[in-house]
Structures are given as structure tokens and as C-alpha cells.
């Protein structure tokens, strides 16, 4: 018993130590964002002892259309997430529960594209959107994000769908339900944890996306948050408090969403126990 208590203590100490390393940089960021008049990086002494204020947050929110970019990013990320989830569940269902000629080669082709450096695809992608007259528009940006996300999402969900026992379909099939009904009333509800997880990936990926938004969006008022942050860093290079306040505000929505969704975080064994032999 005593040995077990010692072990428990050691385990928690190890986890706490790791936690300090993980969270230390965030603590530094929060402290700096609450310290004003930092024309140089605040000394550790100043960080600990100067009075704290949220003035930097108010200033950052009102500077450089930051609030505007914030709203832009929320909208774009939300729409991209919904569209991506719709596409990924459909495509994954197609691969999981249908048989058709050349299915696996097609899937391999899909996978292959995941191994290709995405960076220089930007040039051809740009020309395509130009032909469609979608450069510098939100639909163009969202289509590009959703389009490049299909493969990853499909790969992620296919496994989950295939692990759902086909016995579950029987009652629906007996009632005369088709594939579409199965997709809606079995595969989507039973995969909610996986879909939620994918949703978080999608949202935070879009929220964070930098290079495509930089090349595609020209109109100043259409910009997204990562670009706003980069501009902040360039323009107010020595206002560290201001920059970190802006950064904190950029992080918060993602952390919130994660907190809301996290109870449903990937648990591939959701369907276990729903069929009793």
C-alpha cells in the first residue's frame, strides 16, 4: 500500500514537471501581455513585480482593424469546418460501405497526395481560382481549404466507419431505409466523437492558416487573424505587451472550442457494446 502511494506521488510529480515545461511559455506570454510600456522585452523582475493591467488587450483590439480580422477568421473557419465535415463524412462513407471497381487504387491515390509537399501547390491553385474568378474572395478561400482537407478527413473517418458493425444496419434496412438513411441515422451519430475531433482539427487548422490567406487575399478588410498578427509583429515590433495581448486573443477561441468539444474527443470504441452477440 505504502509503495503504491510513493509510486502515485512520483507519477504525479513527473506529470507536473512536464506540465511546467508545456505551460511555461504560455505563462510568460500572459504575464507579458498584462505588463505595459514594454519597449524592450520586460525583464523577469519586472514581469513578476510590476502592476498588471488589461490595457494592452483593449489597445490591441482597437488597432489595425484587429477586431475585423478576428470576426473574419471566425466566419471563415466555421464555414470551412462545416463544409469539410460534410465532405469528409460523405466521402469516407462511400469508401467504407460501398464496393466498386478500383476502390483501393483510388484510395491509394487519395493517400498519395498526403505525402506531397503542399507548399508549391499554391501557384497552380492560385491560377485555378483566378480562372473561376474567386481570387480575393471568401468562397475561393473556403473552397480551397475544404478541397485540400477532404483527403485527410476521409482517411481519418473511414476507419471509424468501418469499425461500426454492419448488424446495426439491419433494423433500418428492414424498415426500408436506404444508404442515405443509414449514413444519417447510424454512421453520423455513432461517429460523433471522431467527427468532433475532426471538426476541431479543421477549425484550428483554418484559424491558424497563414500562407494561403496571405497569397490569396488582397483586400485589406478581408484579411484573417494570422496575417493580422504578422502585421502587428512587423509594425509594433517593440511593443511586446501589445503583440502578446493580440496573440492571446487569437488563441482564446481555439482553446474555448477545444474545452467545449473535448469530452467527445476521439474515442474509437464508442460502438462497443451496442451489439450483444
Amino acid at each position: 500500500m505504502r509503495r503504491q502511494r510513493g509510486l502515485t506521488l512520483a507519477l504525479h510529480m513527473a506529470l507536473l514537471l512536464g506540465m511546467l515545461l508545456v505551460i511555461g511559455p504560455f505563462v510568460y506570454m500572459v504575464l507579458t501581455s498584462l505588463t505595459t510600456d514594454n519597449f524592450s522585452l520586460p525583464s523577469p523582475y519586472k514581469l513578476m513585480h510590476s502592476s498588471k493591467t488589461i490595457q494592452n488587450y483593449i489597445d490591441a483590439w482597437n488597432k489595425n482593424h484587429f477586431s475585423r480580422y478576428f470576426v473574419n477568421s471566425i466566419g471563415i473557419s466555421a464555414v470551412t469546418m462545416v463544409l469539410s465535415l460534410f465532405l469528409a463524412t460523405l466521402t469516407a462513407y462511400g469508401f467504407a460501405r460501398f464496393s466498386f471497381p478500383a476502390k483501393e487504387p483510388l484510395f491509394k491515390l487519395f493517400l498519395f497526395s498526403m505525402f506531397v509537399p503542399a507548399l508549391l501547390n499554391i501557384i497552380p491553385q492560385f491560377t485555378i481560382l483566378k480562372t473561376l474568378h474567386l481570387v480575393d474572395t471568401y468562397p475561393g478561400l473556403i473552397l480551397l481549404y475544404a478541397g485540400t482537407g477532404v483527403v485527410g478527413g476521409t482517411f481519418f473517418l473511414r476507419g471509424f466507419f468501418e469499425r461500426i458493425p454492419t448488424e446495426l444496419e439491419e433494423s433500418i434496412v428492414i424498415d426500408g431505409g436506404g444508404k442515405w438513411t443509414l449514413y444519417r441515422s447510424i454512421y453520423i451519430p455513432l461517429s460523433l466523437p471522431a467527427i468532433g475531433t475532426l471538426g476541431i482539427f479543421s477549425f484550428s487548422g483554418t484559424w491558424d492558416e497563414f500562407i494561403v490567406a496571405l497569397t490569396l487575399i488582397k483586400t485589406e478588410s478581408h484579411r484573417t487573424l494570422p496575417i493580422a498578427l504578422q502585421l502587428f509583429q512587423g509594425q509594433y515590433a517593440t511593443y511586446y505587451g501589445l503583440f502578446f495581448a493580440a496573440s492571446m486573443m487569437a488563441l482564446l477561441p481555439i482553446i474555448l472550442i477545444f474545452l467545449i468539444f473535448q469530452k467527445q474527443f476521439v474515442n474509437p470504441n464508442m460502438s462497443e457494446g451496442s451489439v450483444k452477440g
Partner: protein
């Protein structure tokens, strides 16, 4: 034949949209990229582009910065892939032990860096590793721990700058590995362990004989993803060092980006990206073949 067509007809409503978008935004750009790499490509007026055969590829072989970038890329993978994997697995294993409380809390904290914006954490680490005593890392190393006598000019030297880049990349990736393994660990049916316990196996031996073998598909998945991620790393280098000082910290990705978007050598840039793609393919091919085929079966 007829049966095949009928099957396509049935699956079409589910696959068409996703397939179309993938073709338009992923596969076609990929093919176009390979095509561009054989040209002296003029992005303003593509019709003036000149076919140059393998000239872009030959240029890459004689470009000393390519070798620096390649070396940095390989080192980056060699450091960050095992680093993230090992620390992530340790975190997952510890959190999954029955004795540990506040599991949800620990998982949440360790996952924070993963969901944080790359732009934010890149700048954050740039400031953490700032020169002189005002950089908090320097302050810790010199004034608190007395490990180094003088503050290090982290971003002014190739190797110390690489250390900063590796540090942020490992730090940010641990949580992802942890979450993947936690999910896999929790999906192992308890009945397996109970059965093993009846047969007299517990603790370490059930870990070795049940947990590890069942983790194999997850390990393949995680490691492949880490390797791909490492070879595609980009934004942290762009924002922390911009490839400097003197082009010494470039990865293949940042260097090809510089060629394409600063010098407008799109042909050369795409040639470099094709080479990087081949490199990724070579490094993941062995595992790729088992990829997707291996599934957890109980």
C-alpha cells in the same frame, strides 16, 4: 462491366463532390507543379515560359544552399520525430496508468500547444530565446541556473538557431502524439487485461504482451504523420529565422518558398518541391505499404 457501372452509380452521390474538389485543388495542382518544374516559368505571363528540360534539377545539384537546406531538413526530422514520439508516448502511458488522477486535466494541458496557432508560438519562442539577459531562456540559463557564463545569441548562429526551431517543433507536437496514443490505449477492451490477469500476467508483462502489439497500427500511423510533418515544416523557420543567418537555417521548404516568392524562380522552386516530395516518398514508402491495411482487430 455493367455491375461495375452500377456500383459507381450507387456510390457517386457520396464520392463525387469530395473527389472533384480533391482533383481540382490537390491532384491537378500537383501535376501542374511537376510540369512547371521543367520550365523557366513566368508567373505573370505563363505563355512566355521556356521549356528547359532538367536544367532546374541540375541547378539544384550545384546549389550549395540546397545542400544546407537538405541537411537541415534531415536533421530536423532526425531530432523532432523521435523527440515528439518518445515524449508523447511517455505522457500517454503515464496518464493512462490507473493510479493517476486528473487525467482530463493533464490531457488538456499537454494538448494546449497543439491547438495553439503556429504564428503565435513561433513568435513566442523567438522572444523566449531573445538575445541578452532580457530573453527569459538566457536569464534562466545564466542568472538562475548558472549553466552558461554568458547569454547566448540564439538566433545569430546556425546551430543555436536550429535548437530553437527544434525546441518549438517538439514542444508543439508532444500533445498530438499523446492524444493519439491515449485514444488507442483506451480503446483496448478491459476484458483482454482481465483475461491476462487470470493467466497471471499483470503490470509490465501485460503492457509488453498486450498493449505494445495492439499499439502497432497506431505507431505506424503516428510515425508516418510525424515524418511527413517534419519534412513539410515551414512556418516556424519562416517566422523565427527566415532561413538566416546567411541562409544557414533554411529547410527545403523555406528555401523553395524563398526562390519562388522572393526571387520569382517558380520553375526552380517547384523543382525543389518535387525533389522534396520524392524524399518524403522514399522515407515513408516502407511503412506506407502497410498503411491503411492494418487495422485494430480484437
Amino acid at each position: 462491366m455493367v455491375k461495375g457501372l452500377k456500383q459507381y452509380w450507387q456510390v457517386a452521390p457520396y464520392l463525387t463532390l469530395g473527389f472533384l474538389l480533391t482533383c481540382v485543388f490537390v491532384l491537378y495542382p500537383l501535376a501542374k507543379g511537376i510540369y512547371i518544374s521543367f520550365f523557366d516559368y513566368k508567373v505573370i505571363q505563363p505563355s512566355l515560359s521556356e521549356f528547359v528540360g532538367f536544367a532546374n534539377y541540375r541547378q539544384a545539384l550545384t546549389d550549395p544552399t540546397v545542400y544546407t537546406a537538405l541537411w537541415n531538413t534531415l536533421l530536423f526530422a532526425a531530432v523532432t520525430v523521435p523527440g515528439q514520439w518518445l515524449l508523447g508516448v511517455i505522457a500517454a502511458t503515464l496518464i493512462n496508468i490507473q493510479l493517476v488522477r486528473f487525467k482530463v486535466f493533464f490531457r488538456l494541458i499537454y494538448y494546449l500547444p497543439v491547438i495553439s496557432s503556429w504564428v503565435v508560438v513561433s513568435y513566442l519562442f523567438k522572444f523566449l530565446f531573445a538575445d541578452g539577459h532580457s530573453g527569459i531562456i538566457n536569464y534562466l540559463l545564466t542568472d538562475i541556473l548558472h549553466i552558461v557564463p554568458e547569454p547566448i545569441a540564439w538566433l545569430q548562429n546556425r546551430w543555436s538557431a536550429n535548437v530553437v526551431i527544434w525546441a518549438v517543433s517538439v514542444w508543439k507536437g508532444i500533445g498530438w502524439v499523446m492524444v493519439m496514443y491515449l485514444a488507442a490505449l483506451q480503446s483496448i477492451p478491459k476484458s483482454l487485461y482481465e483475461a491476462a490477469q487470470i493467466d497471471g500476467a499483470k503490470g509490465v508483462s501485460s503492457f509488453l504482451n498486450i498493449t505494445l502489439p495492439l499499439m502497432r497500427p497506431m505507431t505506424v500511423y503516428v510515425v508516418i504523420n510525424l515524418i511527413i510533418g517534419a519534412f513539410q515544416a515551414f512556418i516556424q523557420v519562416l517566422l523565427i529565422t527566415r532561413g538566416g543567418p546567411l541562409d544557414s537555417t533554411h529547410l527545403m521548404n523555406t528555401y523553395l518558398f524563398k526562390q519562388a516568392f522572393e526571387y520569382f524562380n517558380f520553375g526552380y522552386g517547384t523543382a525543389l518541391s518535387v525533389m522534396l516530395g520524392l524524399l518524403i516518398f522514399i522515407f515513408t514508402y516502407g511503412q506506407q505499404r502497410t498503411f491503411g491495411r492494418e487495422r485494430l482487430e480484437y
